[in-house]
Each structure stands twice: as C-alpha cells, then as structure tokens.
C-alpha cells in the first residue's frame, strides 16, 4: 500500500519483538491471545491497533506499558529493553484513573511530585498542559465535578506533564458520546501535532482508528497475530465519510469479518457451556 509520509523522525521509538501471551483458565483450557507479535513504531508516529473485543489488544498495550508480563518476547524503547512499568510509557486508561481526592491541577502534578520536581516547576507544567487541553477554568475543580470528556482531557494532560516517550491509549474515548468523542479526536490530533509524541492507540472502533492514526494495525483474535497493516496517508482532520476512507474501511471490514464471526461463535459456545 501507500507508505506513510515521512513527517516523523526515522529513529525507532518502540519495538515489540515476538511477544507472546497465553491465558490459562481454571478448567485447564488455554487461550493464545498474542502469538509472536512484532511491531516497530517510529518516533512521533501515531499508530492505532484495532480488533474486536477479546483480541488481546489491551493485553498487548499493558505488556508494552509493563503493567502485565509477557510469556516471551521483548519490549524495547529506543533500543533499550524494558521489563517494568515506568513514566516513559504512560497509559491513558478507558476511565476512572484520575484521583478523586485531588483537584485537576493536583492530579496533573501528581507524577511530577513523585519524581521530586520542585513545586513551582510542577505548577508551571501543570498549568501549561491544563491549558493545552483547554481546562484552565477547571484547574481547581475536583474530579466528580467534571464530565466524562473533561476527565479524559485531564488524564491526557496528566500524562503529557510527565513528558513520556510514548503515550499508550487504551480505548480512552470508548465511554464517551459521539459528539464529545469527535471533539476529543480533534484535540488529540492538535496535541499530537504540537508535541510530536509517539502515540499507540488501541480501539475496537474502526472509524476512530481511521480518523486518528498514521498507521493502523489489525489484530486477529483467532490467530493472536497481526492480520494486516494499513497506512493511512491522508491529511488530518479527516472526514470518515470520504471516499478514500471508505475504500480502506471496506478492506478492513473484509479482513475483520471472519474474525468477528469467530468471536461471535466463541462467545455463543462459551455461553452454551456455562
């Protein structure tokens, strides 16, 4: 297919090398979720991973973050092998990861405080990134006072404040309504444009992946492998209804069709045995 346009650097930021993971169940059954997955991501690249629920995409993300361990394979950041979690690879969770006992700005300062950065620097960084996600008015609000979309913007600001090498986003907008999600997509693209952070974004929503990424990796739950990769070399913001997108989307859906059927069959079988 089309090669991605080369606006990001040529240095490799993240390498996933032959990572495998098998889940064992109590009834001595096992499920190979990831089977020797390898991915290379360049500095500044925005990569999405799509696949139906249960295809192991969140597991892969957690392994990359160091929050879960793989059975075999390696995670390398800038060529360095990583085993445990660290602030260089920050996860933005689907929801509920902000601390309700802290205000918006205290949440954003949290990681900096842990890192022992002086208070005035913490506040500077916090206000800069809170402004970037357009929440300056709410800097002193508590989390329960925010809407779902605002919470995810705080989570993004909190991650950016720590200046990570990679942002790992685990279906961060899945719990939001469509309009809010569109607004957040645009904000995220602007933030990516401004900061040139490397982003790995996991979603089951093909439209979302088409709107955001430079590159899209389709995972198959049946094989535990990468089914196919698509480069989406279109200017952003993109119109997901456009004909170019429709062409790519049709190919992706075709790839995914048998997997969706597989997942459905699997689920019915599981329900039947229960």
């Amino acid at each position: 297919m089309i090669t991605p346009e080369n606006k990001h650097g040529n240095t490799t930021m993240l390498q996933v090398k032959e990572v495998s993971k098998t889940f064992l169940y109590a009834n001595s059954q096992s499920n190979v979720v990831l089977n020797k997955i390898s991915i290379d991501i360049k500095d500044g690249e925005f990569v999405t991973i799509v696949g139906p629920s249960g295809c192991g995409k969140s597991t892969l993300l957690n392994i990359i973050a160091g929050l879960e361990s793989q059975d075999s394979g390696n995670i390398l950041v800038k060529g360095e092998s990583k085993v445990s979690t660290d602030p260089g690879r920050l996860v933005i969770f689907q929801e509920g990861a902000l601390f309700p006992w802290l205000t918006v700005s205290e949440n954003v300062e949290f990681g900096l405080k842990l890192a022992g950065i002086p208070k005035d620097k913490q506040m500077q960084a916090a206000s800069r990134f809170i402004e970037m996600v357009q929440l300056s008015r709410f800097a002193d609000s508590y989390i329960y006072q925010l809407s779902g979309g605002m919470k995810q913007r705080v989570a993004i600001a909190r991650a950016l404040a720590m200046n990570p090498d990679i942002l790992l986003m685990d279906e961060p907008f899945a719990a939001l309504d469509v309009q809010t999600r569109d607004i957040l997509h645009n904000q995220l693209l602007k933030i990516h444009e401004a900061t040139r952070k490397t982003i790995l974004f996991v979603t089951h929503n093909i439209n979302e992946a088409l709107a955001l990424g430079d590159r899209m990796i389709v995972l198959s739950p049946r094989l535990g492998r990468i089914k196919r990769e698509f480069a989406i070399n279109l200017p952003r913001p993109r119109d997901v209804e456009s004909s170019e997108i429709a062409v790519i989307k049709r190919q992706i859906l075709k790839e995914l069709e048998e997997d969706f059927q597989f997942v459905r069959k699997e689920n019915t079988a599981r329900e039947a045995t229960q």
Binding site: V91, F99, P100, W101, L102, F110, A115, Y142, S147
Partner: protein
C-alpha cells in the same frame, strides 16, 4: 462546549446547622421534657425514683459546682482519647501487616471478626484480674473493644482500593512508601473514616461500662455509679445526660463533619441526590 454546569460548593451549606433544624430540635426537646414533667406529675413513681426535670437541672448545677461533672468529663475524655489513640496505633499497624502478609491477613481477619462481636463488658473481669482496679484496666477494656474494628477496617479499606488507582500510580512511577502515602491512604480514606467512627462508638460504650464496673475515683461512669449507690436518681440522670451529650457532640460535630467533607470531595454523594 463539553463543560457541564458546575454548581459551586453552596449546595453543601444546606447540610450545615440552620434555623429550621434548630427549631425542630427545640420542639423535640420541649415535647420530651413536657412528657417527662407530665409523667412526674402523675405521681406513678415516688420522687426519689423519678425526679422532675427541674430537679435534674438542679443536680447538673450542683455536680458542676462541686466539680464532680467537670472532673468526670475531663478524666473520661482523657481515658477515651488515650484508649482510642492506642487502638488506632495498634489497629492500623496490624491491619497493614495483614495486607502485607496474605496468610496472616486471612487468619487474623476471621479471628478479629470473632472478637469484633465479642461483648466488650465481658473483658472486664479479665482486665480486673490481669491488671487490677485502675486506669490501665479501663484502658485495656477500651482498647480491646475498638482495636479489632480498626484492624478490620484498615485491612478491608486497603484491599478494596480500586486497582485502577494503583495501576495508574505505579505507571507514573509510584512505589513503596510513596504509593502508600500518596495513593493507598487517600484512596482508602472514605471507608477508613466509617470504620474509625464505628470503633469510636465501640470504645465509648466500653469505657462507660468499664468505669462503672472498675471503680476508680473519677470518671463519668464513676459519678453514675456513686449516684446509684446513694440512691440519688437526679445524679444518675444528670450523668446520663452528660454521656449522651458527649456522644452526640463527637459523632455529629466531629465525625459527621469530617465524613461529609471527605464524601463531598471524593464525589461520593453524587448519586444520592
């Protein structure tokens, strides 16, 4: 845009003490005292068994001017605070150890639940024989009454922290004491406060009981007991009223306020309205 309307902290003020509340309380008190006065006037019991409200007010005055009540309140509160502080120290310490060592936690929690339902008064004979008729005997009963509640609360509050907080925090580099101090303690606070409030009421029950049974020279339980021994019902009722008021002041004013503040800040009251 996306901003949902934010109501300022004003909505909190309605739970504060206001005029309607005060009027309701005054009305309730008036009705209670009125009924008491009526029963008194019916003359069912002799005056020595059921004195009038006025006599009891006089007794409170007397007990205050001869310092029995002020000293009693002071000594009782000192014992309460000392016992409660010891309970929290031991309870939180053991509770944390229970979280840290899983096998110990499992065993200890069933053991502690058993002791939680154990009537605190039943510790008194044990305390008298082991320690004697003194302050330490009383403290022992108070601690035994409340420490298991603190222990269980610490253990369960920490174990019930939503794992996402711990994952997010460790992802941002929190570990060891930092994770404990900045994440586990605040995340566990709402349920810790509930448990500590319960432990406080256990300690309070046990303390008055122990003061009545372990006769030392001072304390509200002692004043109550002396009233009984000399047959001064007005003194008995006067100490009961004092005990009641102390209970209300601590629970409503201290614990309820702290709990309310924590619940509102954590956003835990949002679904109830």
């Amino acid at each position: 845009m996306l901003e949902k309307k934010i109501q300022p902290e004003k909505r909190r003020s309605k739970s504060r003490f206001d005029v309607t509340d005060a009027a309701n309380i005054a009305l309730f008190l008036a009705a209670f005292v009125g009924m008491w006065q009526m029963v008194f006037l019916l003359g069912i019991w002799p005056e020595s068994s059921l004195p009038s409200p006025a006599t009891v007010v006089g007794a409170i005055g007397n007990l205050t001017t001869n310092y029995s009540l002020p000293i009693g309140i002071g000594v009782t509160l000192l014992r309460l605070i000392a016992g409660f502080v010891i309970s929290i120290g031991i309870g939180v310490g053991v509770g944390l150890a229970m979280v840290k060592f899983r096998g110990f936690g499992k065993t200890m929690s069933s053991f502690a639940v058993g002791l939680l339902t154990f009537p605190s008064i039943a510790w008194v004979p044990f305390a008298i024989l082991l320690i004697g008729f003194n302050d330490f005997g009383i403290l022992f009963v108070v601690v035994m009454a409340s420490v298991f509640s603190v222990m269980i609360t610490t253990y369960s509050s920490i174990r019930n922290i939503p794992p996402i907080y711990l994952r997010a925090a460790s992802n941002m580099g929190a570990k060891g004491f930092g994770l404990f101090q900045h994440v586990m303690i605040p995340a566990a606070t709402p349920s810790l406060i509930l448990g500590i409030r319960q432990a406080w009421s256990f300690a309070w029950h046990a303390l008055i009981g122990a003061e009545i049974l372990i006769t030392t020279l001072y304390g509200l339980g002692h004043v109550l007991n002396v009233g009984r021994e000399f047959g001064f019902m007005e003194d008995v009722i006067a100490s009961m009223i004092t005990i009641f008021v102390i209970g209300i002041v601590f629970d409503r004013v201290l614990f309820a306020k702290v709990e309310e503040r924590v619940r509102s800040r954590w956003g835990l009251d949002q679904h109830s309205e």
